[in-house]
Symmetry: C2
Subunit: 240 residues, 2 copies
């Protein structure tokens, strides 16, 4: 069995390699990549049976790299190992995972033992293993009343990128009035109307406040935004 490790931090990379050797004694080779691009290349050029992937990496993130790998090898087993359980990450992962793929999501704060158990479960037993805390986020995101729907999530990313209502409407193929309806729902779910008011009218600009709250709650993060920025740029060029 050959395992690929993708992790930019050298200390974490060494720790991962050690844990892999310990949890999977039958493992023949452990390949190491320092970034997403290298991970894709190594996964393409070698016979790999599983990947341990850090999500936050400069240049090409772990999610982007996993997406690339799954394009050609939709049955690849990938264990995501991340510092955070941001909803942006959890959504990002579950959006790209193919139906036939086995995957896992373990937090870096977990013990070495828990990480080792997850490796055994995924790479030996083909189980999907998701940390409890991450599962909680996943659950909340699915709940229709608590979490955001896909359409609400779309307008959220769009206003976070700084688009106008009209631009969002053109991009998503709906009317500006619909955009505003979605925004209103978004504001309600984020609880913007119940934010403090001053004597002199509202303290908060709904649009900007929504972005601030989404960031602080992990609905969005910098990576999801730069990813959205890239998509937006492509759409703009296509339009011209």
């Amino acid at each position: 069995m050959n395992i690929l490790i993708a992790e930019d931090d050298p200390f974490h990379r060494a720790f991962l390699a050690g844990t892999v050797r310990e949890a999977l004694p039958g493992c023949e080779a452990v390949l190491e990549a320092e970034g997403g691009e290298q991970a894709v290349k190594l996964a393409r050029d070698n016979r790999i049976d599983g990947v341990v992937m850090d999500i936050q990496m400069p240049e090409v993130s772990g999610i982007a790299a996993a997406s690339k790998i799954w394009e050609t090898r939709p049955d690849m087993r990938i264990l995501f190992w991340s510092n955070y359980s941001d909803e942006a990450y959890v959504r990002g992962v579950s959006r790209i995972v193919p139906k036939e793929a086995v995957y896992g999501y373990v937090l870096k704060t977990a013990s070495a033992q828990r990480l080792g158990l997850a490796m055994m479960g995924i790479f030996l037993e083909d189980q999907c293993i998701i940390d409890r805390e991450v599962r909680g986020v996943q659950q909340r995101a699915m709940d229709l009343h608590e979490g955001l729907s896909n359409t609400e999530f779309e307008v959220l990313t769009d206003i976070a990128l700084g688009l106008t209502d009209k631009a969002i409407a053109a991009r998503r193929g709906i009317s500006t009035r619909s955009v505003q309806s979605r925004l209103k729902q978004l504001y309600e779910k984020l609880g913007i109307d119940q934010q403090p008011h001053d004597d002199e009218g509202p303290v908060f600009n709904s649009r900007a406040r929504a972005v601030a709250l989404a960031l602080s709650r992990g609905l969005l993060n910098l990576e999801s935004m730069s990813l959205g920025e890239a998509k937006l740029r492509r759409w703009l060029e296509k339009g011209q």
Copy 2:
């Protein structure tokens, strides 16, 4: 000599401890803190000669902890060790460092040797040692035409928190028209007017676009925003 290490990641913490022992053979004790709060407590209760501080830590960040420590020991030598050279961090540090303090700013991507040299320079020779890359950011921030003035930076943080013009005016003690003037300058410096236009008017909402650009350029980051959120909350309560 006693050195305090504040770093939440155990691998990095162990690496720091090793580097301290190597670079400073005369060092008697190396104390370790896992977070900002513990760092402040350890610095208060022990005879500490210098601190190596990670900036990004959950709960109490390294900048907040350093600020606390410098309140009672303004001559403390502190070496900041961070993953990023975000302008938000650089500004945050240089805003709180007392005139008589010796400090340093080294990136985590630097080699162990460079880190060791910085430790020797700061703790043995009382030199200020700032990585070249960080220095570049500091320089740009000082340049009046390239970087943002303090007033522009203030309105930037305010709109990022989601405040309305009126609320910003009340908070900063100026008229709403002044807020809008500052915003216009901010938009110009961020280059929002030269963003792409569609046939059907502007694609971007200036206010939201400014926040998006500031985040992607590191002028703001999540920590500076949650810090601003805390300040805002205090101000709101005072007003009521």
